[in-house]
Symmetry: D3
Subunit: 132 residues, 6 copies
């Protein structure tokens, strides 16, 4: 299995609901450094899993829909705790939609699987992995 | 599949038995920077894989049983080479026991799999991965 | 010149005022991974710049005064843009005050200089450096 | 499953053929920081996945066949785009051949799987993973 | 003293002249991950050392003049060994010229000093530091 | 001012004397990832601060005098606490001696200053910096 991974980041405010979260129930924020790993069993005719430039541009476009926002005000996340693992899934879904819409080119049709990792600090990260 | 990973470290002395180990047969030591990745197929009611604060505290408690020790003197490891991969398994077993004992809360019952990685330098690491 | 550096992090919400900031004028947030480097020309009687355990505890206590907060609501920062470089100075001042109050022990009287670095992503950081 | 991973690097020139590659069609170059992860279900008699020293030496020998070269001139890669993912596979094949030739010792017969990751910058990497 | 640092990268081919360089006399290449640290004694009216967005854009524009090139063919470097430390100075000079030309805005007039670091692998880097 | 920095590591056992050290008074150990930064005001005739290959080899030779040892048994450190900052100075002195003995070549006569940093974990490091 081949992989290609690109990295970018976004910065948001949010708060969590539930006693589990302790002081994180207050409005606070995070930088998420995002790694998106694309996997496929064979390379395309150019020798690529996916074009890194297009992958990076598609990821950046997805993160622009989240960047510099208070996630508590985002209708798409109403009633949900936007935990790091939840957001990893949200980024996964949006990148998968971009792939299906052709944003990564025809070659990206061969992608089999994807893993999205969000690093929230030097000491913790979360991820979502699934089929494309 | 969702993941959450927390990082901590511990510092030990030890020596190895066997010609394979060359100069590492002498008493020496290591810092192990430890990543524990918890995995489950669905999030809990709070939107979590596991509470990062509780996971970090449980990992820290496990590492306190190893930290600042000469592993050559630990009865639990008698007759064994405490290689990085062996220690990854030892940390795995102790964190799994903590999960079973409820140290990560009821929600941690949904955990399916775990990977423990020990970084021994900037250029080498070892890991153990298995079902919880 | 000797140095010792310890690392921790905090997570906040804030917004900026001024056209320069573009979309960062919206309420958003950041994780700041913080490095505090302590410097002195000679070691103390124990062979230390500063006790790493006490330094880490003192830094953690300072960051608790900022962590999980919306900095737009903090009276101490009223009317100021809490940029990364501004916050590096704020952390510097609070750690220096802790040193002067004896939180790092008598030995810390020998500290000459300090540098506080705040990493806001994998691609940008800011710092403040000055005499203690 | 146990893993051991060792890191090294190599530096090459190359160019790519095809409009997809834009400015990377020009002769340019890259540093590839290489991680090779070896996996096996059980440890050997010494408590090892593989001897880290031998693994590092075998990897270094493989990378010497690529290091400080213009890959456009390498007969082994004639007519191919030496993309990061393609090179991850090439390193994988050469390390696997070294294992089969006994370069990692008898114990390496127990290796089940291997993942080779090539980091091409702070923001992108590619990998190939397969059975040994 | 305040600092702000931004990171980017570029990928080039080159070769070195002189026996000192051993196999690096052959045409090869490198990825350089570049950190540019801007320093000034006081913040501007917005609370900034320099606008991170403008700094990143100016650095990217400078690196585009080097990226995806064979430095042996660059007239600006004729007769010179484009070592990592030499290139750190070249990037320094071009960023300083951009500052003087106003590419980082009026506020950048207050910049006092700059350090450019080029990471050539996980185990080596070089830098040039000087007054702006 | 130009810099070149090379990285390596060593692994030792030791213990500390004094109540300040708490559990670190027990025999334990550490991996130290070592960065040695060499500085000089002008490049040599080859365009170098110092040859990276020779610098790496000289550093490796110095670290071999410490690697895989129990520092409590080293006569050179008798009666001293081998703290991270103390060891940074010890490495500094030994590399400086190697420079003076010609191990880095004639060109290394131009070196002005050196900084040795020892990373003891992902969250702490110490350094010694001085004139060569």
């Amino acid at each position: 299995m081949y992989s290609v991974c690109v990295r970018d980041h976004f910065m948001v405010a949010h708060s969590f609901k539930g006693e589990t979260f302790g002081p994180a129930q207050r409005l606070h924020g995070a930088t998420y450094v995002v790694d998106v790993e694309f996997r496929r069993p064979a390379l395309d005719a150019d020798g690529l899993v996916v074009d890194i430039g297009r992958a990076a541009a598609a990821l950046h476009a997805v993160l622009e829909t989240l960047n510099y926002r208070n996630l508590d005000d985002e209708p798409a996340f109403a009633g949900r705790n936007t935990t790091t693992e939840f957001l990893a899934r949200a980024v996964f879904d949006r990148v998968r939609d971009a792939i299906r819409a052709g944003a990564l080119g025809e070659t990206a049709r061969g992608l089999a699987r994807m893993k999205v990792t969000l690093h929230e600090s030097h000491a913790a990260w979360a991820a979502f992995e699934g089929d494309v």
